[in-house]
Each structure stands twice: as structure tokens, then as C-alpha cells.
Amino acid sequence: MSQVTIKLEDKEIYVYEGQIYIPNKYAAGTIGSKVLINIRDKKKLLGMRCPECNKVYFPARQTCVECFGLLDEYVEVSDKGTVMTYTMCNESTIAQPVDTPIYAVIQLDGADTGFVHMLGGVEPEKISIGMRVKALFREKEDRRGSVLDIRYFKPL
């Protein structure tokens, strides 16, 4: 905690440089836990199908975005997919897990929706929309039940 004084005309103004620090811990819930545990333990990607409109979501979710249907049927989707869009960050932020990540929306084979993750193991200029990619999982001992248990997607 520190403060800086600035003077404006005849007025003194103090600027406090401080923080708000409240740790947060979010439950992934029944569905999210199942998806993350399958990634961690089996390198398996679980999606879910909407019983009403048949749309397959990966990652699995409780409620259909299209029709408000309540999803209940797990479906395994492929670890291979197609890049729908991507971006290369030029500067890193404090929130990012790696320096200058390349983010992409990837539609995995068997899913009707995109999965947001990172690309790696590829020259940036060689990335294109429509490119085929495959998930690269972390080593078993490094997987902790997180979306980051997938290190990134690399070109097929």
C-alpha cells in the first residue's frame, strides 16, 4: 500500500495505490468435475447432447444455449478438431497462464460448438482458420483436473 500526492492548483490530492485481495474458489459442479476428471485421468473429452435440439456441446454444459433444454447425455468427442478463429496476443497480461498465448476457438470432431483454448507447437504465420489440430495433454503427473491439463492444440 502506498500513496502519491498530486497538487492541482491550490488543492492537495492523494492517490492511494492499493489492492483488493479476496481469494476465490469456484466449484466446477457435477458436470464440470466429470469433464475435468476425465481429462485428468483418461485424456477423454466429454461433451453433452441436448435431448431437445440434438446439439452436442463440448465442453459439456447443463443448459442448451439454443433451446434451454436440460442436457443429460454425455458424449465423447474427438481430441482432433478444426480452428474456427484464432488470435496471437502480442503482450502478456497478469491473468494469462503463458507468455503471449495464441488463443483459438476449436470445433472438435463430434461437437457442434467451439472450444476455446490455446495453440502451440506451430509457427504463427502458418496458422490459418480451417487448420486441423490435435490436443496435446500434459504428462499424467502434471494433470490436476483443469482445462490447462491440455497444454495446447498443435497442428495435425
Binding site: Y14, Y16, E17, P23, L36, S146
Partner: protein, 163 residues
């Protein structure tokens, strides 16, 4: 992070985020003036509402009660007052601004200063039995100027006095 399984309960995953968010809060000119007087002169200054003539603590551009602009009329407040209401935290709480737990116990009071202005602050007295409504207190400042500059926090606490 996974939480260890209890008997017959499925394993649940949790995702944790622990990065503090940084801010640059400004006092603005009104609270800034109060800060400056406290830091330089160990004095309590507040601005006065032109309508109800009450001292505004916190100093502000508009008097909330009268809903009129206050202007820039300042007065020094007395540093002695009477405890109107008090309490003390028994259960130690997390302070999100310092990222640590508050001191414990932490007697906290609304103090009616001798001109009628009400200030919230901490009390020196931590013995529950010695706290009472109506007790007389006065401000105790942080000694070194370089430790001051945090507005009302430049007052360490209010200590009990005889009258």
C-alpha cells in the same frame, strides 16, 4: 484443484483464483484537503454545508441531507468526543485491502465529537468491561509525519480520557 473424496461422495473439482486486483483510488480535492491537514498538522478538517451548517464527515462536494453543493468552507474539528455506539470484533476478519486478518479484538466506535460531528474510529481500550456508551475519548495521532498521509488512519485510535 481436487478436493479429497469423502466416503461415497463423488470427487468434485474446484478452480481457484488468488491474484490481488490493484487499484489507484483518489481522494479527490475534498477528502484530499482533510488528508493534508491530518498529515501536516495533525488536525481534523471538514467542510461545512452552507444550508444546515453541519460539518461533512466525509468532506464532500454535496451535502447528502440538504442535497445542495457545499462549496469550499473549511473548519477544524475538535479532537475530543463521546462514544455514542461501540462494538468489538471477536471473530477475526479478513482485510481485503491489506490481504491479512484484522487485529483482534478491535474495538470500534461511533464518536460524537464535541462539535456534534460523528466520526467512526477504533478505540485504544480493548477491555470489554471498560467500554461504555458515553465514555470520553480523544484522538491519538501517529507520531512520524512519514507514517501519516492515510487520512483518518493517521489517527492510531481514540484513547479514553477523564472528561
Amino acid at each position: 484443484m481436487a478436493e479429497k473424496k469423502k466416503k461415497s461422495e463423488p470427487e468434485y473439482i474446484f478452480v481457484e483464483f488468488n491474484t490481488p486486483r490493484k487499484y489507484r483510488w483518489s481522494t479527490g480535492p475534498y477528502v484530499g484537503k482533510m488528508y493534508h491537514e491530518a498529515r501536516m498538522n495533525k488536525k481534523l478538517y471538514a467542510n461545512q454545508c452552507p444550508k444546515c451548517k453541519k460539518m461533512l464527515w466525509e468532506p464532500q462536494v454535496v451535502c447528502g441531507r440538504c442535497k445542495v453543493e457545499t462549496g469550499w468552507k473549511w473548519k477544524e474539528l475538535p479532537q475530543r468526543g463521546t462514544v455514542m455506539q461501540y462494538t468489538f470484533i471477536v471473530y477475526p476478519m479478513w482485510d481485503p485491502h491489506y490481504g491479512e486478518k484484522f487485529a483482534n479484538p478491535l474495538p470500534n466506535a461511533m464518536i460524537e465529537m464535541d462539535d456534534g460531528t460523528v466520526i467512526r474510529h477504533f478505540l485504544e481500550e480493548t477491555d470489554e468491561k471498560k467500554l461504555k456508551e458515553g465514555m470520553r475519548v480523544e484522538a491519538v495521532w501517529k507520531e512520524n509525519e512519514e507514517d501519516r498521509g492515510e487520512g483518518t488512519a493517521d489517527i492510531k485510535f481514540f484513547r479514553t480520557i477523564d472528561k
